[in-house]
């Protein structure tokens, strides 16, 4: 099945109002969503008897132990039974019937209920945890070999943020990632890219390379200038299906030695700029999350992995990253009723003039572009780009206090 591009909208028809699948989960059940947000397949494992369990519960189904931990689990299994849901009282599913569900016995043990994508009873499958429109983790069973067409399946399309046929706004085309990101988005089937140019009057470096590219429009956009955001949103606000915020102001320096003027610029661009972007484009996007093939799907922002725990050499910058992360989390809550996904892309030190004196590994613009598009294809909320970011996030999850001491070289 190949998804065809959208027809032009009938302006006499009301735009479909977003509905959501059921969002309520138990505290234990939220563990599936946490894993899905990161693109991991994790289940509860009992620390005492080793049983793997599904659905998530507060005690082990085998030995009643409370000592359960979420662990990455073999994502393979076989479809035991399938059914086609033809009727549902739930508005979200009613709009999308028929809906294929099945039970899958995992090689790890449990039988899970999954949405079926291109698979039938008796087939060996891979099971993935994906975020649905309500932002909750659900199981999907799909062929072991992943294919591009698979993502066209209505079930995945309804829950995902795939760039195919979508129009994407990159907020700052002067970021080194802009060109490779544009290429990667088109390779993934994006329909159009709007690229914002801050301080167009300066003809900033790198932007001329984007002039004249097919299906790319450059427009003046500066996240520190409310009027430019207003102007851009009034022009293209109804056409932005995915927004990727690449605006970044970075200067090295800690807190004692860093000028507050530089820190203020960092806050203005990195934190308040994100807030202004969301205010300018967010409401329009949130109203269009059920708007057909090219519905609004995701609001993405690029962050340093040190948003989680600062590197003192970039202390003021990292404060702006932590602030931006916090703003993104609030946006996630605020966009939740619309189903607009908020994704944070965490990157290690990037290959640019501000990290020139740092030793490798550094994240190349192409790598960052690939991570962003991969995350969009999988519908992730937390995207980690490069080994540094992945490692840092892993250590942060296991012990933030320990990580802080590891980065700063110990306590006082």
């Amino acid at each position: 099945m190949t998804l065809t591009g959208p027809k032009k909208k009938d302006p006499q028809k009301r735009t479909i109002v977003p509905t959501l699948p059921p969002a309520t989960r138990s505290r234990a059940g939220l563990g599936l969503s946490v894993a899905a947000a990161q693109g991991r397949f994790a289940l509860q494992h009992c620390a005492e008897c080793g049983a793997v369990q599904y659905p998530p519960r507060d005690a082990c189904h085998a030995c009643l132990s409370h000592d359960l931990c979420w662990k990455d689990t073999q994502p393979y299994g076989k479809v035991l039974a399938e059914t086609r849901v033809q009727a549902s009282p739930d508005p979200y599913f009613r709009e999308r019937l028929p809906w294929r569900m099945g039970s899958v016995r995992l090689t790890a043990g449990p039988v899970v209920l999954a949405h079926l994508v291109d698979v039938r009873r008796g087939e060996d499958v891979q099971v993935e945890l994906r975020l649905d429109r309500a932002g909750q983790g659900v199981m999907i069973a799909r062929p072991k070999e992943r294919s591009d067409d698979m993502e066209d399946d209505p079930v995945l399309r309804a829950m995902g943020t795939h760039p195919k046929h979508r129009r994407i706004l990159i907020s700052d085309a002067t970021h080194p990632v802009a060109r490779p990101l544009i290429d990667a988005l088109f390779a993934a089937g994006a329909a159009h890219v709007f690229a914002g140019v801050p301080e167009m009057w300066r003809r900033p470096h790198g932007v001329s390379a984007l002039e004249g590219l097919e299906n790319v429009s450059l427009l003046p956009l500066d996240v520190t200038d409310p009027q430019s955001l207003k102007d851009a949103a009034s022009e293209i606000g109804g056409k932005v299906d995915i927004l990727i915020n690449t605006a970044r102001h970075i200067r090295p320096g800690g807190v004692l030695g860093q000028d507050t003027t530089a820190a203020r610029d960092e806050m203005e661009v990195n934190a308040l700029g994100l807030m202004r972007l969301a205010q300018a484009f967010g409401p329009g996007m949130a109203a269009r999350t059920a708007d057909g093939v090219n519905s609004a799907a995701a609001f993405v922002t690029v962050l340093s992995a040190h948003a989680l725990s600062p590197d003192p050499a970039f202390g003021a910058f990292n404060a702006s990253q932590a602030a931006a992360r916090s703003i993104a989390q609030t946006l996630r809550a605020e966009f939740a009723p619309s189903g607009l996904r908020v994704a944070c892309v965490y990157t290690g030190p990037t290959e640019d003039e501000w990290h020139q004196s740092l030793p490798p590994p550094k994240v190349a613009p192409k790598t960052l572009a690939r991570s962003i598009v991969d995350g969009l294809q999988k519908g992730l909320e937390d995207i980690y780009c490069g080994d540094v970011a992945r490692d840092l996030a892993e250590r942060w999850r296991s012990d933030p206090g320990l990580l802080e001491r590891e980065i700063t070289g110990g306590g006082a």
Partner: protein, 259 residues
Amino acid sequence: MSVLDQLTGALAGGDVRVVDLTHRLDPDFPVIVLPPEFGQCARFRMEEVSAYDHRGPAWKWHNLTLNEHTGTHFDAPIHWVSGRDWPNGAVDEIPAEHLIGPVCVIDCSAGAAQDDDFELTPEIILEWEAAHGPIPAGAWVLMRTDWSLRAGADYLNMAEDGPHSPGPTPDAIRLLLDRDIRGFGTECVGTDAGQGAHYDPPYPAHFLLHGAGKYGLQCLCNLDRLPPRGAVLIAPPLKIRGGTGSPLRVLALIPGGSK
């Protein structure tokens, strides 16, 4: 009838006209761009506080962000290291009577049209004096280049070897200081030439003028509407404590007969 009555009468009757030499403060108006590792001049930004809405039902107002040297602006002596110890060298300390005075306009527009790095030299100043008489003490001297007609990137005119825009040579500034001028103004983003860093001393207009307690004006426009001499310049900066400069509205009074 007092002089001031005559003046207000002339203003009302059109025998004296007011020319606005000020650019609009706009987020896209160019500011000086320094190497990225240096502190930068804040761009002009305006954020709505309320607009007859729930944030303030009957009124609209904005918070502004800008540098002392954003847009059409005034440079005080303490702006430059050479003027740091000048008494009354901050904008709030400058005597009010210094803020209104005679103005001479040296037309360099023909040369600047040919050469982005056009220099104002002592010869050009002496030629001007031969034609219009000596520059009076206490006068503002403005260098007209028609650079204000440029916009955006063409205004800063940045190249890989830095910006290219017209300005005075060190000797030209020394000659103006001999005439005991009040200050020097240009249409470009600074009083110095784009390549002014390569003179000896670097940035002679800033270094020598402010070192002698004189003032600077930049990002002026409409200089083509001023006569070579005989106009009055009104250029009061904001009274900012310890301010090194200030955005301001620069006005000129010209005889009604001139264009």
